[in-house]
């Protein structure tokens, strides 16, 4: 991870909000993945993202405060500050979930809950014969074609968290994805090379 003062923050309010939304959602997914697979490294990533979210929230507040020209403006602007704080609350909750992994305090029932929920988390191993190999996430568009959102990729000893659209899938990659059981099973068949075509691929 880069140092936070070197991280670029979008400069319009809309983009900051979208970035906060995406970061919060990613943190919840990563936290549940970390709990399910007892992955401390992943849990630590959640804690780092928490700092990034604080930075985004700070930037949102600065822009909100700047736009107040009178008391009435300022009063209306308080709701944006409250919203920022609420997004921060979501990520604090995700961070606490991640801490359960770091502190090794997870009851087996917690794992069962994650596995049984409608949208669960799965680990998908990519075989060399799979049609996924060599294609970028943009080309594959897995959310549309399979119903699975890619949360992270394990490549050898390295993690790629929240991979960019231009990341290409390599043989041996382990994809951590969020989706229904059916969607995840379908992606597994594709990753094993059993299914050779994708709807739009």
């Amino acid at each position: 991870m880069e140092e936070w003062d070197e991280v670029e923050v979008p400069d319009n309010v809309k983009e900051i909000f979208v970035e906060m939304k995406n970061t919060a959602e990613l943190m919840v997914d990563l936290a549940y993945s970390a709990v399910l697979f007892r992955e401390k490294e992943m849990a630590n990533e959640v804690l780092e993202l928490e700092e990034y979210l604080d930075l985004l929230n700070y930037n949102l507040m600065v822009r909100a405060v700047l736009s107040a020209r009178n008391i009435r403006d300022a009063e209306r602007i308080t709701s944006i500050l409250q919203m920022g704080r609420s997004i921060d609350d979501i990520t604090n909750a995700a961070a606490d979930l991640a801490k359960m992994v770091i502190e090794e305090k997870v009851h087996p029932l917690v794992t069962e809950v994650i596995l049984e929920s409608e949208e669960t988390i799965g680990r998908v191993v990519v075989s060399p014969e799979s049609i996924l190999v060599g294609k970028s996430l943009e080309e594959l568009d897995l959310p549309t074609n399979t119903g699975v959102w890619v949360v992270a990729i394990r490549r050898g000893k390295r993690w790629i968290f929240d991979p960019d659209e231009d990341v290409k899938i390599l043989p041996g990659d382990i994809i951590i994805g969020r989706g229904t059981r059916t969607a995840l099973d379908y992606l597994k068949e594709i990753a094993r090379g059993i299914i050779k075509v994708m709807p739009n691929g």
Partner: protein
Amino acid sequence: MDEFEEIRNCLVEMKDLSALMIDLAFSSVMYNSEDIAEEVYLLEEKMDDLTVKVKRLALRAAKHEKDPETLLSIIDLADINERISDAAYGVSDIILRDIEPHPIIQEIMEDTEEELGRVKVHRGSVLHGKTLAQLKLPSKIGARILAIKRGSRYIYNPGKDDAIYEGDVLIAVGSDLDRLRKVAGEKVEEGED
């Protein structure tokens, strides 16, 4: 049903609902939808009830545990989901608060012609009994279904094999939701086109 099974069912529901709530809360802001912000509010109340229920059950289960402290992570999970749902409500509250939001808040709201709202499926609707694959709503009437509410249950991100039935409430996004309201058998006030 033993306590653990009951706790598990509650927690699964809580996890599903909190994920739905995050999604709906952010969507309600981006689409400036009071309708959906209100839905988040209703879900929040439901989550409060579930949280209390899990805590009670966990206490009861603790009586037969050799090491009751191991149950702490179960209570933590309920708490975390409750906090997420409170926070989701806090996000969508921005929509319910001001009649005329400040321009900086309007900036966040999607610059789009699309509308996000709830549509009830009435008796006799052509949607009844058909799967999303059969209906092809996105291409036919330009509406995407984010969730289906059936009784007190929600089907979140419904797939192509999920069917729609009378009495369902559809949470949908589209450029003209009135078209969906018409096929769902809802009375549409104006705009007979």
